[in-house]
Amino acid sequence: MLISLLFVGVALVSGFLFYQMKESASWVAHTQEVLYQQSEIYSSLQDMNLASRGYAFTGEQSILGPYDAGRGEYPVRIGELSTLTSDNPRQKGNIESLSGAARAFDDVTVQLIKTRSKAVVSAQMAAMDKIRSALRVVSGEENRLLAERTQRSDVLFKLGLGLIAVQLTLGLLLLATCRRTVTNYAEEDRRKIEKLEAEIDQRKKTEKALKETTLKLTSSNTDLQQFAYVASHDLQEPLRAVAGFLTLIAKKHRGNLDSDTDVWITHAVDGAQRMRNLINDLLMYSRVESRGKDLEVTDCNKALEQAKSDLSVLIKEANAIIEAGKLPTVQGEQGQLSQVFQNLLGNAIKFKGTDRPVIDITVSQQSNEWLFAVKDNGIGFDQAHADRIFVIFQRLQGREQYPGTGIGLSLCKKIVERHGGRIWAESTKGSGSTFFFTIPVMQGEYDGRAKTD
């Protein structure tokens, strides 16, 4: 934009300069005109002068031709001169003096012609001198004026040229800078593009690596799942043999063997049974994924009812109170969610304290997930172990006192994580525990009631 301004400037200044030049030309013409008129006036008057002098000497009438002509011309010329310089007040005065001098000369010449006296000649010569000096004043003024004007014009012209030169230089500089900036931008852009291309390449590589890793993990996971399933499944057969025959032996020889053998057999059968329980639990654990059904709209209240129904005997025996608020509907599998409730409630009752077991189930919405809390008044545990209890087969209590393989909570964790949530526990030894888990809120869900669109 700056460049266009400069160009406009140059154009303006050039225009101005041309105008100036035209002006100077006209002043010069004007001055020429004035000088011409002046010389004409002089020549007319000089004609008069010489003609009258000639007549004075010779008395020849015919010599007076130029005198008459001149006498007619000079007033006209003076009039024109006056018009030419009418814009100049100083010159006006000079021309009036000239006019006066011319008239005085005229009068003297008339005198000379009349008297033909030598004495008048000197007066005439004096009058002519006056005319000459008047003329010089006029031309002097005119020349001075011209000089003044041309000088000013000269200055302006030089100024103009200077401005043009400056503007052109600025313009060229800007052009150069612009060009450099443009190439710089082009360079910058090119570098940016190169960088972006490199980044895209990098990202593509990372994406590819990620896909490969995901594929490997999925395949590995499937392998593990299959391994877990097959391992537990194939372990059943030898287990059946061990447990089964030991039981048969026990049945056959009960009371017949010495007390040591009886005890040993009891331990062996017991061991076999525990192994069977562990393997069954492992199978159940691996089946969370392998037999997991697709998640669908599930009413958590129904899942809780199912759990309570499955635990009905236990609940009745322990005389437990289970209080629950209204639970939401989520994207899940009812069977598995029921397992979660069953395990948490079962634990709460199993690890009861001296008081009647009271279990409180609440739920609240935390941004985009439901936060479930299962609070009990049981024996509690040291918060330091809060992470360990979710590890498969980890138990905090003795097997004699509190039966169980220690898979319940890790099963809950697997199921909750499969549903997209997290599970954790807070507890104080002797004051009961609260188990928290989250399940994502369904889209289109509000306040536990699914929106029907």
């Binding site: 057969e237 059946r240 043999a241 447990a243 089964g244 039981t247 048969l248 069977r276």
Partner: protein
């Protein structure tokens, strides 16, 4: 209800320990029987068709069929039997560890009479044996066995 003669049971089972346990369970449940055990699918077919080493075999009243067997698996044996006009009247009880939906559906499609998942506890197996006895040999009328 009369039990004129011991029930003839053919059991196709590749695990000797499982077979022995089954035998004990039937004995405990007082299911008087002649129990013949074959160890794989091919032998099972041979026995039923009275071929080779089994040319003197007697037709069983009921077949207890395990699914996971070498040489020929249970489903293949089942398919073969049901194609045979003579053999297809023998009631087949699938007794297997598999709980797979596919196996269950396929077995019934191939016209097995019953599908029982082998119990892990021996006590339960005893119960199963008793139930088989009750159902098949007291409640149900079996087709006449030509080899009586």
């Amino acid at each position: 209800m009369v039990e004129p003669r011991p029930i003839r049971i053919l059991m196709a089972e590749d695990s000797p320990s499982d077979a022995a346990l089954a035998k004990e369970a039937f004995k405990n449940g007082k299911l008087l029987n002649e129990l013949v055990i074959v160890g794989d699918g091919e032998e099972c077919i041979e026995y039923l068709k009275k071929e080779g080493q089994y040319k003197d075999a007697t037709r069983p009243d009921v077949l207890l069929l395990d699914l996971n067997m070498p040489k020929k698996n249970g489903l293949e044996v089942l398919a073969d039997i049901k194609k045979n006009d003579d053999l297809k009247t023998i009631p087949v009880i699938i007794l297997t560890t598999s709980e797979s939906e596919h196996d269950i559906i396929k077995s019934y499609q191939l016209q097995a009479s019953t599908y029982i998942t082998k119990p892990v506890e021996f006590e339960n197996f005893l119960e199963v044996a008793k139930q088989i006895k009750e159902f098949y040999f007291h409640v149900v009328t079996l087709p006449p066995n030509g080899d009586t």
